[in-house]
């Protein structure tokens, strides 16, 4: 596997200034991004592609919402919980968002301890991240159940435009799937950290590649991305 950090820069000639320098840097020898390993580059490019997927989902939802002639259900009422005798708007979503953002924090700490080769703390923090992610998915399941019992279906709902239910289930479902996959892979990577695979250089089962602590960071990139997407879903779906 490629080194994470570059130890020496190949080019010896002075570089041109200005835009030509930019082009020269990008097209430089062997690697366009000097301190980026293959795995990290691949994850970044995948996330760029995935951004387009979520972008298309959200744009389609906004188109539907803006062009429908039937009133859109009021998110403040629909997503309210009846707690202690009064309806508190968006309380569940607020907690969900808090949980997910917190999981980004634990993930970042896991990355830090990973690079210090602190197996125990890294694995615990990753499992904590996975637990927070699972909690998020669990609360999402609760929210789905609540809405379904109130009569929301992909093809219609009691309060207005049918596209409300279809967009809601599609977008939160797609995001929830991302979180679920994240949880699964967090557990897999945490197991590898715990077992010390990244210290002993144990080859992967399918790939026969040696793992490195950088995998924790790559995992983290995905996890932060999923969180970031949630912020946009939160803003465009619940706050609009």
């Amino acid at each position: 596997m490629a080194d994470t950090t570059v130890t020496h820069i190949g080019q010896t000639q002075p570089r041109p200034a200005g835009l030509q320098g930019v082009a020269a840097d990008w097209s430089s020898d062997q690697r366009a991004f000097k301190n980026v390993s293959w795995g990290k580059a691949m994850m970044w490019i995948f996330l760029l592609s995935d951004t387009f997927v979520f972008g298309c989902f959200l744009l389609s939802y906004m188109t539907a919402r803006m062009s429908t002639r039937v009133p859109w259900p009021n998110p403040s009422e629909v997503f309210a919980l009846h707690i202690g005798g009064s309806n508190i708007p968006l309380i569940l979503i607020a907690i969900m968002t808090f949980v997910l953002i917190s999981s980004s924090g634990t993930m970042a700490m896991a990355v830090n301890f990973g690079y210090r080769h602190d197996r125990r703390k890294t694995a615990i923090l990753m499992l904590l991240t996975a637990a927070l992610g699972a909690t998020f998915v669990g609360m999402q399941a609760f929210e789905w159940t609540k809405l379904i019992t109130e009569g929301v279906r992909p093809w219609g709902n009691p309060w207005g435009a049918a596209q409300f239910g279809s967009s809601f289930f599609m977008i939160t479902g797609f995001h929830g799937t991302h979180v679920t996959f994240g949880v699964i892979f967090l557990i897999i990577v945490a197991r590898k950290v715990w077992r010390g695979d990244y210290d002993t250089g144990r080859p992967g089962f399918f790939t026969s590649r040696r793992g490195r602590y950088e995998h924790v960071e790559i995992m983290g990139l995905y996890w932060h991305f999923v969180d970031l997407v949630w912020v946009f879903i939160f803003a465009f779906f619940y706050l609009w």
């Binding site: 190949g10 293959w38 760029l48 992909p154 279809s166 790939t207 026969s208």
Partner: protein, 589 residues
């Protein structure tokens, strides 16, 4: 005169040696292989197999169009199914898969001097998911109601309604599932191609020394990674409309006197999503062709490519521009005139980088030492075909001219010329060019010449008359044309002529397939570098290249890919990995 300075200081390796997966058995060597070259051949074979299905479908369509009323088994429903599957298979499962999955996998690691793709296991998964997508697609032929007949654009609402074949049966569901699988599989491969080009080049191989083939495939892959998401989303949403009864794309609609459950959706939204994918898709198949043809022309004219840097920037520019032109496919959808104005302008701007490329190809040929080998013939044929197809694009890119021509056979002729025939010609040329590297033997020249002339002339005899028929106003996608008033007697004779030509060209492809199989055993021994080419794939120690591509030491690159006929050099080509530098080389500084 000769001016060989001592070898440049070789930059030290930044990338550690790749850990390769070494196969343990026949299965992991030839079937579940993680070697990009094997995956490339798997991709190519699968794409060719499903492409043959699409070829047969085109014959069936031409039977009906040329001789309406003669063939009872081609019902209107069947005809629409043929059209749809022909289009979808050719564009996605053949052209995209063959250029990126086939040529990309084979050529990228070899040309950039890597041992393999950066993540061979993911690369292998990419192929198997692609195969699954193809099988799901093919299974729709045997599903109740047959495959979908919605047209390759799958426009809602008709795509999922009763009147359309497969609309309320299995057809459309299988099509959408297959597309979703294809996109997932492609993403796995595409990430590999991009990262390999960006991060795994050998020493000395700067991006500005890459052969244009790699530039074309690389840019097309980046575009595909950004364009396929739109199709993915459109497919998911339509699948929900069809399977769950949502109304993303379905407006309130009355079918057979009955109000459907749908309401409030936007069919135009689908068109935007589809064409945000669909237009870049045109260039996803065109850019690899541009790149490959540049290398073919340079190699077989024994001359450096003219304006290498402009060629690179033109590829990148076309790639970027192609994301802002999609609505020129929707001029008749009732869009705002200013919107049409914007998209017509961007569309015509694409002509600039495209014209740069065409001029540079021609200027590369200018006073070159042209060898009229079979790959070169195909490359030359591509240039003329692409110019012809591009010129009709100017008609269709302008709103006022497009509106009367929209949905006529003129459009069919246009896109077949520019993104059907032209890239296919490059694929043929590329196969004749790289077959010796893949198998170690040359393809038979006589069969190749026959294949070329029949295909090239035949394609013109098919599609030139079609422009004329289209200008007369004959619409596309009509099952029977004799009864319409726009179809005169003479135009109908032309239609029959087109059909006969289509059969002839189709049969010439069987000669080609025979050649592919025959030459594996009986072709002339090729040696390592039969075309005396400069790029790294021709400098491998073994032919065909072994697992790991380059033996013990990775090659070191000292120059660009186009040092042909350098004055003072001993031979008329200098391989990229030959040390030393030549003052008279035309490599841009």
């Amino acid at each position: 005169m000769v001016d060989i300075t001592p070898a440049d200081a070789v930059p030290p390796a930044e990338v550690a040696e790749m850990e390769l997966y070494h196969p343990h058995s026949w299965w992991t060597k030839y079937v579940f292989s993680q070697d990009a070259k094997v995956i490339a051949i798997q991709y190519s074979a699968t794409a060719t197999a499903i492409g043959l299905v699409a070829l047969v479908l085109s014959w069936l369509m031409r039977l009906q169009l040329g001789f309406p009323g003669t063939f009872d088994f081609i019902s209107p429903e069947a005809y629409y199914q043929f059209i749809t599957m022909h289009g979808m298979i050719m564009v996605i499962y053949l052209l995209t898969a063959l250029f990126l999955g086939g040529f990309g996998n084979y050529l990228i690691p070899l040309m950039v001097g890597a041992r393999d793709m950066v993540f061979p296991y993911v690369n292998m998964l990419s192929y198997w998911i692609y195969l699954l997508a193809v099988l799901v697609l093919a299974s729709s032929f045997f599903a109740p109601g047959g495959p979908t007949g919605a047209g390759w654009t799958l426009y809602p609402p008709q795509a999922i309604m009763t009147g359309t074949p497969g609309g309320q049966d299995w057809g459309i569901i299988l099509m959408l599932v297959s597309l979703i699988l294809f996109i997932i599989g492609f993403t796995m491969g595409g990430l590999n191609y991009v990262v390999t080009v960006l991060q795994a080049r050998t020493r000395g191989m700067t991006l500005m020394r890459l052969p244009l083939t790699v530039w074309g495939i690389f840019t097309a892959t980046v575009m595909a990674l950004l364009a396929f998401p739109a199709l993915f989303v459109a497919c998911v949403m339509m699948l929900f409309d069809r399977a769950l009864g949502t109304s993303f794309f379905m407006p309130a609609i009355v079918e057979m006197g009955e109000q459907l459950q749908h309401g409030g959706g936007s069919p135009i939204l689908f068109q935007h999503l589809f064409w945000f994918f669909g237009h870049p898709e045109v260039y996803i198949v065109a850019l690899p062709a541009f790149g490959i043809v540049s290398d073919l022309i340079s190699t077989h004219a024994r001359k450096n490519i003219f304006g290498y840097r402009m060629m690179v920037w033109a590829i990148v520019g076309i790639g970027a521009l192609s994301f802002v032109v999609w609505a020129h496919h929707m001029y008749v959808s009732g869009m705002h005139p200013y919107f049409g104005f914007f998209f017509a302008t961007t569309t015509l701007i694409i002509a600039v980088p495209t014209a740069i490329k065409v001029y540079n190809w021609v200027l590369t040929l200018w006073r070159g030492d042209i060898h009229l080998t079979v790959p070169m013939l195909f490359a030359l044929a591509f240039i003329v075909t692409f110019v012809n197809g591009g010129l009709t694009g100017l008609f269709l890119g302008n709103v006022v001219v497009d509106v009367p021509l929209s949905d006529t056979m003129f459009v069919v002729a246009h896109f077949h010329m520019v993104m059907g025939v032209a890239p296919i010609l490059v694929i043929f040329g590329a196969i004749y060019h790289w077959y010796p590297k893949v198998t170690g033997r040359m393809l038979n020249e006589a069969m190749g010449q026959f294949h070329f002339w029949v295909t090239f002339l035949g394609a013109y005899l098919i599609f030139f008359p079609m422009h004329y028929i289209g200008l007369m106003g004959v619409p596309r996608r009509y099952h029977e044309l004799t009864a319409t008033t726009v179809m005169t007697e003479s135009a109908h004779d032309l239609n029959a002529f087109i059909s006969i030509m289509a059969f002839i060209v189709g049969f010439a492809q069987i000669v080609f397939l025979f050649n592919l199989i025959w030459s594996i055993r009986h072709g002339r021994e090729a040696g390592g570098n039969p075309w005396r080419a400069t790029t790294l794939e021709w400098q491998t120690p073994e032919t065909p290249p072994a697992h790991g591509n380059f033996g013990k030491e990775l090659p070191i690159v000292y120059r660009w890919a186009y040092d042909y006929s350098v004055p003072g050099a001993k031979e008329d080509f200098i391989p990229q990995n030959m040390p030393g530098s030549f003052e008279s080389s035309r490599e841009p500084a």
